[in-house]
Each structure stands twice: as structure tokens, then as C-alpha cells.
């Protein structure tokens, strides 16, 4: 009898959930000239708080001296900022879909999925006074717009870099070979990003080493190309690779000497550079090119605090905030004015990060989502999907 009661309870719960689920899906009826979901016609007063998903280092409030663009925002708008750092883009997508956030800073492999799913809203850029000054090369791109409508505002962009400990790796590397082929100095101490998107880095290596595979886009791989990339990753794993999930893991590993070379963001090199007790590190953008990202602040369609989110998007395009943020993370600023401001804290920053050098960005493959249709017009080609990538990564890491 007792058992039966439990079962009944579960059945009631199931019905309850079914009822809730059913009603929401039916109510979303499309209609012709209605504004898109989440569209803001006019800016109102801030709601008092803002919940963001960020890349680590994208919302600093003075923990590192001279870098604080959150406190001034809070003081000015009254929007208290709460942040959650994502570990990779897949994680960011999952967090936003949980429905508890107003928005976040998303790379291309997350932003396109979010736009397609309707999880993020198109942005009324007329309400954002700083949007006009943004470099035109960062507006209306595939990763931040859909059907000609902007779905967010740029934060900054940069490549994934090769970082090494100069005490151990004495000749400065110019290619990714050391992390793929290994050598006596670095085996067992190679640091690799723990995310399925890293498969694209293997594909970039194959583009230069095995041109016969015919890889034209490292994110859209057919069966043969994908298998070759996974083979390469398995060989790499057997060199004694250590995978980093959070930037702090990698920083701790380099600081203790357990890691001596690997793939990184300029941010970690900056953190290590600021630690007098850590070994000296350097970074380079290898000659084969690299993966990279161009990040976008996007607003969740169901944002509870849309006005604060708009205020934040505008703030993050301001010269002061964008200048500080891009210097802090070591990425390219998004406007001439932000560049000028960045130069005042880090002279040479904009030239170093190629802020307005569109030709440089040609050699960088911005993170993108693997798609079954290969993201091309040819219906004959099929590629491995996002799910295939995640599962292959689980397999690689699980064995």
C-alpha cells in the first residue's frame, strides 16, 4: 500500500509537469507585425539588479588595481551586478537556457545557437548611445546578428594563443607543433583547453599538415576529417596532456611548474605576469593561425531586468569600460574611442591586439558551432554535429 502511494504521487507530479509544459508551448502563437520577443521600444529606469553570465575577467570590480568597470556602472545606474563565470561556450548556453539570467557575453559558438533557439532577443541599438562608434567590422556579423537584426553588442575579440614557460622552453616556438608532437622538455606538462571546441584546433593543425584532407573550415568537418582530428587528439592525450577547465587551474599549473606550454587566452598570461613568484611566460599567435573568439553581450529573451541589461550593454561599449576590459583580458577593443582610452593604461595595446586591422582577423577562426549542413549551401555535404563533437570529447577524456 505504501509503495502504491509513492507511485500515485509520482504520477500526479508527472501530470502536473505535463500540464505546465503543454500550456507554455501552445501560447507562443506567431503573429504578423508584432515586435519580436524581448524587444525594447524605449529605455526605462533600471530594475536595481542584473544577472550576467560572463567569461572570467569580463566584469572586474577592482580586485586587480586599476581595473574596475562594474562599481562605476552600479553607482551610475543603481543596477547591482551579479555574475556567473562560464567554463566554455556549451556551459554558457546551458546556463542561459536555465532562465535565471538577463544576458551574458557569448562567443560565436554559443551566440548563433542562442539566436536560433530564440533564447536571446534582438537589440534595439537606437537606444544605445555608444553603438554608433563601434568599428563597422564588428557590426551585423554572422555571430551577432540574424535576418539583418543585431542581437547584441561586441565586447572584444582575440585569438587563442600558445603560452610557454621561458625557463623550460628556451627557444620561442612559432607554431603549434610542440603541443601536438611533444618533446622531452614538455611531455606530461602540456596544457590543453578542456572543451569540445578544441577539436577545431586539431583541425587547424591538419589544415597545414595534411592538406589532402581538404579541410576548409575547422568547425565543419566530415566523417574522414573528424576521425583524423580525433586520432590526432588521442595521440596528443597520450603525450601526457593536462586539460584545464577553468582559467584558474591553468594559472595554478603554470605557477607551480606542472605546466610549461599550452593553449591559452592572453588573460592568463597577464595574470601570471602580475605574479612575481610565478615563472615567466610568453605568448604567441602561431603561424598556422588559430581559433579565436569575438564576444557579444546578448540579452535573454526572458530577461527579468531588460533595462539594466541595456544600460550594461551601452556601458560595455563606452571608452572607459571597453578600454579597461580589453586591456585586462588582452583582447582587441571595439571602437576608436575605446582604443584611445586603452592606450592611456597600456601604451601600444591597440596595435598589439590588431584592434582595427581587419586583415589580421582573416587568419583567425572565430569559434563557431558545428552543423550537420556544414554551414554551406551544398546539400550534398554533411558534417559532424555539435552533439557528435561533445560526445567525441567525452570519449577522448573518459578513457
Amino acid at each position: 500500500m505504501k509503495r502504491l502511494k509513492g507511485v500515485t504521487l509520482l504520477a500526479v507530479l508527472a501530470l502536473l509537469v505535463a500540464a505546465c509544459g503543454g500550456s507554455t508551448s501552445e501560447s507562443a502563437a506567431p503573429s504578423g507585425d508584432e515586435k519580436p520577443a524581448g524587444w525594447l521600444e524605449a529605455l526605462g529606469a533600471g530594475e536595481g539588479q542584473l544577472n550576467l553570465i560572463i567569461w572570467p575577467g569580463y566584469a572586474e570590480r577592482g580586485e586587480y588595481e586599476g581595473f574596475n568597470w562594474v562599481d562605476p556602472f552600479e553607482a551610475e545606474t543603481g543596477c547591482k551586478v551579479n555574475v556567473t563565470a562560464m567554463t566554455d561556450s556549451n556551459n554558457g548556453v546551458q546556463l542561459l537556457q536555465s532562465g535565471q539570467y538577463d544576458g551574458g557575453s557569448f562567443s560565436g559558438d554559443a551566440s548563433v545557437r542562442l539566436m536560433t533557439a530564440g533564447d536571446v532577443a534582438p537589440v534595439n541599438v537606437d537606444l544605445l548611445s555608444n553603438y554608433a562608434a563601434v568599428f563597422s567590422g564588428l557590426k551585423n556579423q554572422a555571430h551577432n546578428s540574424m535576418d539583418g537584426m543585431p542581437y547584441g553588442v561586441p565586447h572584444g575579440r582575440g585569438p587563442n594563443l600558445l603560452m610557454w614557460n621561458t625557463d623550460v622552453v628556451t627557444t620561442a616556438p612559432t607554431s603549434w607543433d610542440a603541443v601536438w608532437d611533444g618533446n622531452a622538455d614538455v611531455n606530461g606538462k602540456i596544457s590543453i583547453y578542456d572543451s569540445s571546441i578544441y577539436i577545431a584546433d586539431a583541425a587547424i593543425h591538419l589544415m597545414s599538415k595534411r592538406p589532402e584532407l581538404g579541410i576548409t573550415n575547422p568547425y565543419q568537418l566530415n566523417e574522414e576529417q573528424f576521425t583524423a582530428a580525433i586520432d590526432l587528439l588521442e595521440k596528443q592525450r597520450d603525450l601526457g596532456v593536462i586539460y584545464w577547465g577553468s582559467y584558474a587551474d591553468q594559472v595554478a599549473g603554470f605557477a607551480s611548474g606542472d605546466l610549461v606550454i599550452g593553449t591559452t587566452w592572453q588573460f592568463m598570461a597577464n595574470v601570471l605576469g602580475g605574479d612575481a613568484t610565478a615563472p615567466k611566460v610568453e605568448t604567441v599567435m602561431p603561424e598556422e593561425g588559430s581559433t579565436g573568439w569575438s564576444d557579444t553581450w546578448m540579452m535573454a529573451t526572458k530577461a527579468a531586468n531588460p533595462n539594466c541589461m541595456y544600460l550594461w550593454m551601452n556601458h560595455m561599449m563606452s571608452a572607459e569600460a571597453n578600454g579597461q576590459a580589453t586591456v585586462f583580458f588582452g583582447e582587441a577593443a571595439t571602437s576608436e574611442a575605446a582604443c584611445d582610452y586603452a592606450e592611456t593604461i597600456a601604451p601600444g595595446h591597440c596595435e598589439l591586439t590588431h584592434a582595427s586591422d581587419e586583415a589580421y582577423w582573416e587568419s583567425i577562426w572565430y569559434w563557431a558551432t558545428p552543423r550537420e549542413d556544414c554551414d554551406d549551401a551544398d546539400p550534398a555535404t554533411t558534417c559532424k554535429t555539435q552533439d557528435d563533437w561533445v560526445e567525441a570529447w567525452t570519449t577522448l577524456r573518459g578513457n
Binding site: 509513492g6 504521487l9 509520482l10 507530479l13 508527472a14 509537469v17 505535463a18 509544459g21 503543454g22 567554463t87 566554455d88 556549451n90 556551459n91 548556453v93 546551458q94 537556457q97 545557437r113 542562442l114 536560433t116 533557439a117 533564447d119 606530461g188 569540445s196 601526457g240 593536462i242 586539460y243 577547465g245 599549473g253 607551480s256 611548474g257 606542472d258 558551432t369 552543423r371 550537420e372 554535429t385 555539435q386 552533439d387 561533445v390 560526445e391 567525452t394 570519449t395 577524456r397 573518459g398 578513457n399
Partner: protein
């Protein structure tokens, strides 16, 4: 009005009991079991492979098919269960002599000191202890420094043995305490009787003490085994070998929620089986 209500409850004592229990039981069944139920239901839902969105009530067994078709999930489950079993055996092997000394040999003063020593680590945060182990185990860590005179290097933070070591350390008190309590419960007269009948130390332990300790060991093993099988922070921070929990976490954090939910059936089923065996051994009487 109030009086009427109290009067009614007075006449219906069973209703009083039910009203009192409704709160906690409702909480357990709706908040606790309900959320678990919804979680497990995700295993049978499909999801959009591009956007990663779960499609509720779109029933499919794809997640289970994926887990069954890829041998890596079996490897991970076997590894997790194997390490959890190893942790349990190791903890029992350490707990037996320690608890025996505490219960039978040590003076009351020493016993109190040892009890404090065993429970003291439980006062510190779980994460702090794991990070302490990281500084011990990393290549240039404390252990590496201690063994460097012999030309040896620290183990680094990738070895699977690290997980075994750290999990054993973390859960050892949960094994020592029930075994200690079990030993205290064995009357001295039994041991004297065994000695009178010619039973020497080892025989007495094997034939008199150990059989009576089985419920206590089973009780302790529930903690060490279940806490190990569900842990994902230790394997993440001190080694590179994934456990069931890591795969569940990774998949849920990375947008394959149905796979995560489907894989979470594995530890649940293993633990149900384990608890049934433990109940047979009388573990629930010595908790």
C-alpha cells in the same frame, strides 16, 4: 472556532499525526523526490542537436542508446565503482586496527584524544582538504619535496591513484566511527569465553569479533562507497580520470542534459543494489 478544531483533533489522534507529518513528508516527496523525478524524466526527452534545447515530452530513448553504444560510458562506470570499492576496502583495513585500539586498548584519556583526532578533519571544509592534497601531490609539492632526496618526483595531478588516496582520506572517519561503536558493543565476556576455549588472538578476531562487526562494516561502507561513487570534485581536482559524476556534470553543464540524466541512472541503480545487500548484512541496525 479554535476550540472546535482542537477538539476535533483530540478525537482523531491519527489525523493529528497525519497533520504533523504532512509538512516534512510533503517537503520530502515534492521538493526532494519531485525534483529527482523531473531530473530522471529528462533522460527520456529529446533535444535539439544544434541549439542544445531540451524538448520536453518529446519521448525518445536516444540518450540511453548513446550510453549503451559507446563503450567509454562503461569504462567510466567500471572505473568509478572500482575506485569506490577500493576506497571502501582500504578504509575498512585502516579502520579495523585503529578502531580496535580505540575501543579495546587505549586508556580513556587516549581514547578521547583519538576520537577528537578522527573527527577533527570533519570540521574543515571538504574543498579546503582537497586543495591541501593538491599542494601535497603536485609535482613540486610537499610529497615531491619529501621524496626528492631519493631521486623520485611527486605524482602530479593526473594519477588515478590520487583519487583513491584522497577519497580514502576524506571518508575514513565515516568508517572508523561505526566500527568503533560496533567494537564497543561486543561484551568482554565473549572474548574471555573465546580465550577460555583456547582461541588465540587471530582466531578470536576471525571467529568472534569479525562476524559481529559485519553490520558495522556494512554501515561504514555505505558512507565510503556512496560518497565515493557520487564524488566528482576529487577526481576533477587531483586526477585526470573521469568518474560517473564528472560525466554527468560535464553533460549537464555542456548542454546534453538527457545524456546526463540517463547516465545518472547508473549510480542510482548501483546504490539501490548496494543498500539492499547492506540491509541484508544488518547495516541499518548499526547506523
Amino acid at each position: 472556532m479554535m476550540r472546535r478544531i482542537t477538539g476535533w483533533f483530540n478525537q482523531h489522534p491519527r489525523a493529528t499525526l497525519r497533520a504533523l507529518l504532512a509538512g516534512p513528508l510533503g517537503w520530502i516527496s515534492i521538493v526532494y523526490l519531485g525534483s529527482l523525478f523531473i531530473l530522471l524524466m529528462h533522460a527520456f526527452w529529446s533535444k535539439d542537436s544544434f541549439t542544445g534545447k531540451v524538448e520536453p515530452f518529446n519521448w525518445t530513448l536516444d540518450a540511453f542508446a548513446q550510453i549503451l553504444s559507446n563503450p567509454v560510458y562503461f569504462t567510466i562506470a567500471a572505473r568509478t565503482i572500482g575506485i569506490a570499492a577500493l576506497v571502501t576496502i582500504t578504509a575498512a583495513a585502516i579502520a579495523l586496527p585503529v578502531a580496535y585500539y580505540m575501543a579495546r586498548i587505549a586508556s580513556p584519556r587516549k581514547r578521547a584524544l583519538l576520537l577528537v583526532a578522527v573527527t577533527m578533519p570533519l570540521w574543515a571544509s571538504y574543498l579546503v582538504k582537497i586543495y591541501a592534497w593538491r599542494t601535497i601531490l603536485q609535482t613540486n609539492g610537499l610529497l615531491g619535496w619529501a621524496i626528492s632526496p631519493f631521486g623520485l618526483e611527486g605524482p602530479g595531478l593526473t594519477e588515478i591513484a590520487n583519487s583513491w588516496l584522497v577519497l580514502t582520506y576524506l571518508w575514513l572517519p565515516y568508517m572508523i566511527l561505526p566500527v568503533y561503536a560496533g567494537l564497543e558493543r561486543i561484551p568482554n565476556s565473549l572474548l574471555e569465553a573465546s580465550a577460555d576455549l583456547g582461541g588465540r588472538g587471530w582466531i578470536t578476531f576471525r571467529r568472534v569479533i569479525f562476524p559481529q562487526l559485519i553490520p558495522a562494516l556494512a554501515a561504514g561502507s555505505i558512507f565510503t562507497f556512496s560518497l565515493s561513487i557520487g564524488d566528482y570534485i576529487v577526481p576533477d581536482l587531483v586526477s585526470d580520470a573521469k568518474f560517473i559524476g564528472n560525466v554527468i556534470y560535464d553533460n549537464s553543464a555542456l548542454g546534453s542534459f538527457p545524456v546526463a540524466a540517463a547516465f545518472s541512472f547508473v549510480p542510482i541503480l548501483v546504490m539501490i543494489g548496494y543498500l539492499l545487500v547492506a540491509r541484508r548484512l544488518g547495516a541499518f541496525e548499526s547506523l
